[in-house]
Amino acid sequence: MSGVVKLQDVSKTINGKRIIDSLSFEVNSGEVFGFLGPNGAGKTTTIRMIVGLIGLSSGDITISGYSIKENFVKAISQVGAIVENPEMYKFMSGYQNLMQFARMSKGVNKEKVDEVVELVGLTDRIHDKVKTYSLGMRQRLGLAQSLLHDPKVLILDEPTNGLDPAGIREIRDHLRMLAKEKDMAIIVSSHLLSEMEMMCDRIGIIQAGRLIDVQRVRDFVNGAENSYQLEVSPKDEALLVAQQLFPTIKMSLTDNGIAGQLKKDDIPLLVNEFVSKEINIYGIKEISKTLEDRFLEVTDKKGEVTHA
């Protein structure tokens, strides 16, 4: 486990506008890193810089120790990527497209091409012209293209865009498999938050060009206090009791009881108190926060995020 991809203080200014601001993070081999942020946060811009499509205004990016600025060819030879939509030559077949890219990397033979085609499940249609492909099929072809040369780093900008649920699941399984078995470092950006939760080991949240948080997925989801709903009566009295017990926690009345952002350990204390004050307890429900809630909370940009 070592940082294969390293971003150090990366900034990008276009037309005087600071689009990426001092971004630093590392991605290790064998992990899937999720790159999360609302529309226009700068995910695609960052990915473009990592693969050398656009220059850096300041800072540096290294891949396996090679700087993308100084040693582009060495650095990029370790990378497979899809940047936004994987546009292909529409007038050629999927196979001919892959052969184009195969010729541009060392040591990619026809067997390897066939193997990758099989992996992404395009064997049946690979000899049809790309213009006859559906969006999902193009996405698969894009993935195939990025895997041809057995890269150490895989970078996918919204790879599940346009895939059906089965396809999304397939990609997710592929990515997990590639990270574990081939020890790849994988960077994925996506709007489908629920999916990031299932696919990624770590998640970095970017907003307005700044990285505001990097956390392990599990910590991330559990990081916040969950809220609990208690079905109790009489509820007004219960609220008073609860507020006396936990003066710092905000509690509120609901239709049939009270609710509040309690910690797990608070629950037995509260129950004991209710029992001693002869308040009836009918049920206790934990409302756990999803990544999506957390994400919205952190970015605080509710209206702009595409929901899963």
Binding site: I14, L53, F72, E87
Partner: protein, 318 residues
């Protein structure tokens, strides 16, 4: 590099447009051949018995005119002198100017097809970089372990190879049409070159190949310019439009400027017609073959430098 060129070549020939271009050239050559054939004057040979007398009168006329127009432009004087010299040479060496129209004549006339082929080469040159941006494929192309410079060189070489193919097709096919429609002559008179007051004989086949090569220099430079515009502005319509406009108007505009200004000789189009040094008179006095070649090389380097410089630095956010 070979693989890159192969890739470009495949991309070029997977598109129907390319075949349409080749088809149009073949169609046009066939058409021109048939027209010339149907208009061919069977009496071409009349007066060929006393051609020597005719030439002598022409010479006399020209010499008389030369005396009359003392202060005519130098180019006019030069061209009269050229006529006189060639006609004298013909009489001395018994070379009749009246030749039956044959395959050679046709290939010579058909050399104007190069302008037409040039049109297509410009279209290809203008599209080869810009299309990758339009298709969005530039993103996948530039994230390979190959420097941008190499990719651009491979694309340029592909343009040159395509130009070569168009020339070979034009030359070979017009020869074929020529042989079929007009036949081969028993004896082929040599071509007469006039340069700097001396006359040299040249084998007709060799002459035609030189003619084709020199005529294609214009096309080569325009294609290079279109390629540069396409790489710099990522816009193929601009590259095509400007290049084709200059292809048709560049020569005339330069000739107009050349009458007034000495510096017109540094304009690209004053130097693309290298034929002027072999069978004609230079546009501006004092221009030499070496001068023109130098100017062409300088333009070539500027075009290539601009293309590479911008393409290398470009942020690809297509």
């Amino acid at each position: 590099m070979l693989n890159l060129i192969k890739n470009e070549w495949i991309k070029l020939f997977k598109r129907t447009g390319t075949f349409v271009m080749i088809g149009l050239i073949i169609l046009l050559l066939t058409f021109v051949g048939i027209i010339i054939r149907s208009q061919e004057n069977p009496d071409r040979g009349t007066g060929s018995e006393n051609w020597e007398e005719q030439l002598q009168t022409e010479i006399n006329n020209r010499e008389q005119e030369l005396k009359d127009i003392q202060n005519a432009p130098q180019s006019m004087i030069d061209s009269y002198q050229r006529d006189i010299a060639i006609n004298k040479y013909r009489i001395e060496h018994n070379l009749s100017p009246h030749q039956d129209y044959s395959v050679w004549g046709f290939v010579y006339d058909a050399s104007n097809i190069i302008q037409f082929a040039g049109l297509f080469v410009i279209i290809v040159a203008a599209g080869i970089v810009a299309s990758e941006f339009n298709w969005g494929t530039i993103k996948l192309l530039l994230i390979r372990p190959i420097s941008r410079g190499k990719i651009l060189v491979a694309k340029y070489i592909t343009v040159i190879l395509f130009a070569l193919l168009m020339l070979i097709i034009s030359f070979a096919y017009s020869s074929l049409v020529g042989v079929i429609l007009f036949g081969t002559p028993e004896t082929t008179a040599p071509h007469l070159n006039y340069y700097n007051g001396t006359i040299t004989e040249q084998n007709m086949g060799v002459h035609l190949i030189i003619l084709y090569s020199l005529k294609s220099i214009n096309m080569l430079m325009l294609a290079t310019m279109a390629f540069m515009i396409s790489a710099v502005f990522r816009n193929s319509s601009l590259a095509i439009g400007l290049s084709i406009f200059l292809m048709f108007a560049g020569g005339q505009l330069t000739a107009m400027l050349a009458q007034k200004f000495e510096w017109a000789k540094y304009i690209l189009f004053a130097n693309t017609e290298l034929m002027q040094y072999i069978e004609g008179v230079p546009l501006i006095e004092g221009m030499t073959l070496a001068f023109s070649v130098m100017v062409l090389v300088v333009y070539f380097i500027i075009f290539q430098f601009l293309a590479h410089y911008v393409f290398h630095k470009r942020d690809v956010a297509a």
